[in-house]
């Protein structure tokens, strides 16, 4: 069959890409809100409060500054643990991925640490190092590190051998190879590890705060859980999610766009 195509400039740009990315995001959030609202009305249960109830709960704790205080404490812990877990986990992961023998030796350790329940690590950390920030952040990091290791290890295993050889012949040395050859290839693995990482860290932070801190979102959420005040739980959750969304759109996405600008663009269609 004959195929005839006419291509006036930009005739076929889709609606979504014509609208700015901002509008798409707003539409997306609006859609989410609508679904929630409808579901809440249909469910009509104390357990799934409608948006206004959550806003009210938010306002109640926001007015006193309490919500922001707890949020800030949690964010501080999340940020600290995130940095530690990413740095340590990536270093170990890359090493294991590139060194077959080290990997064979440490693989069982990794599986052990992957599967130790958060509770055990947290309790041990608190008991040994006291109920302080260092123990809390350390415990979160220890929980997350094995996950980073596993992801980065896969990345390091899939490294391009051709480029590695090129770097070797041209004597890039250790630092140049790492910076210009290895790390850019690991970018998608970093992205995966850090996106799912920050959410995992936050979830562990909730447990850490439940088990031995006197502030933070996890502390608050558990208090409200005992009172079964779902609106307040959602208010705190959404406050954290909002922070994550802001970080995603103002920091992560621009950075990612910059660091993957070399990738050939996928042809539309």
């Amino acid at each position: 069959m004959a195929l005839e195509l006419d291509h006036p400039v930009a005739a076929e740009r889709s609606i979504a890409s014509r609208l700015g990315p901002g509008i798409v995001t707003v539409a997306s959030l609006a859609g989410l809100l609508a679904i929630w609202w409808v579901a809440a009305i249909v469910a009509d249960s104390r357990v799934l409060p409608a948006p206004p109830a959550v806003v009210e709960a938010f306002w109640r704790d926001a007015r006193t500054g309490e919500l922001f205080f707890h949020l800030a404490m949690t964010l501080m812990r999340v940020a600290g643990a995130f940095v530690i877990a990413m740095v340590v986990g990536s270093a170990i992961g890359i090493l294991l991925g590139m060194n077959r023998e080290a990997n064979r030796f440490f693989d069982p350790w990794l599986i052990l640490f992957l599967n130790i329940p958060a509770l055990v690590v947290i309790v041990l950390a608190y008991i040994w190092f006291g109920l302080n920030e260092a123990a809390a952040i350390g415990a979160i990091a220890v929980n997350k590190i094995p996950n980073v290791v596993v992801t980065l290890r896969e990345g390091a295993r899939a490294l391009d051998r051709d480029l590695e050889e090129m770097a070797k012949v041209y004597r890039f040395g250790w630092t140049k190879t790492l910076r210009h050859v290895v790390l850019p290839q690991l970018q998608p693995y970093f992205a995966a590890a850090s996106r799912s990482g920050i959410s995992l860290i936050w979830k562990i932070a909730l447990v850490v705060e439940l088990l031995g801190r006197s502030n933070g979102v996890g502390f608050q959420i558990n208090l409200y859980f005992q009172l079964f005040d779902v609106a307040a739980i959602l208010a705190y959750t959404l406050a954290f999610v909002a922070v994550m969304l802001i970080i995603e759109f103002l920091l992560v996405q621009p950075f990612e766009a910059h660091s993957t600008r070399w990738r050939p663009k996928r042809a539309r269609g």
Binding site: I127, L211, F219, F225
Partner: protein
Amino acid sequence: NAHAESEATPTIRVGILKFGTVNWELDAMTRAGLDEKAGVDVELVPFAGEDASAVALQAGSVDMIVSDWLWVSRLRASGADYTFVPYSTSVGSLMVAGDSRVQRLSDLKGKTIGVAGGPLDKNWLLIQALAKRKHGVDLGAENSIVYGAPPLLTEKARQGELDAVLNFWHYAARLEAEGFRTLVSGTDAAMEMGTAGPVASIGWVFRDEFAEKNPEAIAGFIAADKATKALLTTSDAAWEELKPLMKAEDEKTFTTLRERYREGIPSRPASEEKADTAKLYGLLAEIGGERLVGPAKELAPGTYFDDGKNGS
């Protein structure tokens, strides 16, 4: 105390559940300045979970928490030096909906029962033992038992998914205010099983070592606690101030919580308590087995704090 002025007031850090019932009492205590009057400075360290305070005590981050004597005895038997001062006799109750056709324990057959404390919960063991002895019913075997988180089970009871729920006293009180009724309480079960009176199953827990080093702090704290309990027993006004902490949904819940709290204040002399506890321990060792009580065959000596005044 006049001579307390010369040196700094001893401080005692107490780990509490932020919205827990202990906090009501301690809040009332500090609010009324009863701790200062007794020559001790009570510092409250709030946590979000029961387990957190246990961890905090072991980590040395607080000096005192509220826990039960069984836990103390078990840890003592394994070498720790925790000790116990009775705090409350309020324990859990087995609740059913107001319009439930269940009237007696023997009616619980083929039902779904929620149990908040887990299979080793003392009250649950006692109620099971009672049902077996009095009605010949094996509650565990003839019903479907659901263990779970207390707030979740409360909600499930409201939804009607559970036919009965054994929950901690303040959850039970809240349900009561909503029209549920008590089928049997832990205290009832214990008394029917042979204790002379209500046993304070939870109490202040701290290390012997701490008590030796800070005798005035402990003495002061116990005195302040006594004074606070007296205040809360008599004064409704003191309760009004606790309202924000209690998070009662309505006035009815508020009064129910208040009344149940007052009922839980231990009134018996320590020696009687101790005798009953020893009896209960034997009973529990029998039904709960080593799983529950650990290797020790009887209550570990020193589980009850000996302040040197009461004798033994």
